[in-house]
């Protein structure tokens, strides 16, 4: 699917950061993938191997921090983890969710050697 192009974007971002800092080697790239980001972690790990194979990052590890969805009920401000796609507020029973976390799709840091 498109985890491969996500991997390519991660590579581009990592290389750009490394270039700015004049780094020799990128040991690992840390990314945050939210539960609701639309990216499958296993597929991304698999795609990473393929995407980096012929690049400067062929030995670079991809470190994935998975971020679960947390919801804030707009009605009573209770925060909860939904187990299901659509889960009513455990406190007031209303369904008016604001997604607080879980949509992240970002490169947080790179670990480098000079």
């Amino acid at each position: 699917m498109h985890e491969f192009s996500v991997a390519q974007h991660i590579i581009d971002i990592a290389l750009q950061s490394a270039k700015q800092q004049q780094v020799d080697q990128i040991v690992s790239v840390e990314v945050e993938i939210g539960q609701a980001a639309g990216v499958v972690v296993e597929a991304l790990e698999f795609a990473w191997e393929s995407a980096t194979k012929d690049t400067l990052l062929r030995d670079t590890a991809l470190v994935i921090k998975f971020i679960p969805v947390t919801i804030s009920c707009r009605n009573c401000k209770t925060q909860y983890f939904p187990r299901d796609l659509i889960e009513i507020c455990p406190q007031c029973g209303d369904y008016d969710p604001e997604i607080l976390t879980g949509k992240e799709l970002r490169v947080s840091a790179i670990i480098v050697n000079n």
Binding site: S5, A51, L105
Partner: protein, 287 residues
């Protein structure tokens, strides 16, 4: 797509073409077909299976002693960059371009076969007198662009190859070729896919998800991203309602669960039933 490394997917390797027979009255458009991005050709003699051999092919010289030198010298550089940032930035550029020129850009998304192209053909007919442009997205063929071309509407076909969605860069390039007039209407018919296009902002003014009555009421629950990111939901092929077990009220209930702000238009592109509501909505957006 290259089997070994998957190249050919995503941004590099898509193609923008004009359907044959289109009259080109723009100066400066020379080629009918051109490729975007480099299509890398790798030699296919990768011998290894999973995992990579750990050769120390690094340029810098240092001694490998018992200490883990990597950790001593390693430092952490904060990046905090959104992965889809490049697409989002380009999408905002597109959005600014459209707003500056008063162009209403509508992104039509759906599974394959829900009737996007037919709806478009009928829409163009119903909106004669309006300046309309179309961008068609498919993995392969210019079949859809040819259909639109037959209506006399300026159209470009984007073939994504193995790609599963249109992205902002493709739209950016296609729009530059189309060079739409100010205050015109641009329809973008995305690749038929209920999953991936949801993630990719194109810079559109509105996103319209199209679902037909033969697809089942539970699709909004199964494909929530698509329904969450759209503003209008067209339910097509209502002429087939007597022949399928499809509950019109139920699908709306499900869809409203994932997106309480969604509006619905029930229609049949084939018979024309309900089509007036769709045309009315478009006219309201333009004025």
């Amino acid at each position: 797509m290259c089997d070994t490394c998957g190249c050919g997917e995503g941004v590099a390797g898509y193609r923008i073409t004009k359907p044959s027979g289109i009259k080109n009255n723009h100066s400066g458009l020379v080629d009918q077909e051109h490729f975007h991005g480099d299509h890398h050709h790798h030699t296919h003699d990768h011998g290894h299976g999973s995992g990579h051999t750990h050769e120390h092919s690094h340029e810098h010289d240092h001694h490998h002693n018992t200490n883990d030198h990597d950790e001593e010298q390693a430092r952490r550089i904060i990046v905090e960059t959104d992965i889809l940032q490049r697409n989002n930035l380009l999408a905002e550029r597109n959005r600014g371009y459209f707003e500056a020129r008063g162009i209403m850009a509508l992104n039509l998304v759906s599974s394959p076969g829900s009737g996007k192209t037919t709806i478009l053909e009928k829409t163009i007919k119903a909106l004669s007198g309006y300046q309309i442009y179309v961008i068609e997205g498919d993995q392969q063929t210019t079949l859809d662009a040819e259909k639109i071309d037959a209506t006399g509407t300026p159209v470009l076909q984007i073939n994504t190859g193995s790609g599963c969605h249109l992205d902002a860069e493709m739209i950016h390039k296609a729009v530059r070729e189309l060079d739409p007039q100010n205050k015109s209407l641009l329809f973008i018919e995305n690749v038929g896919n209920l999953v991936c296009p949801a993630l990719f902002d194109l810079g559109e003014s509105a996103r319209i998800v199209i679902i037909s009555v033969t697809e089942g009421e539970d699709k909004p629950l199964k494909y929530p991203n698509m329904f969450q990111s759209s503003q209008i939901c067209i339910i097509n092929k209502t002429d087939l309602l007597p022949y399928v077990d499809f509950n019109l009220e139920q699908i709306k209930k499900y869809a409203l669960k994932v997106n309480p702000d969604l509006s619905f238009i029930d229609l049949s592109a084939r018979t024309g039933e309900g089509f007036g509501d769709w045309i009315q909505w478009i006219k309201e957006q333009i004025s």
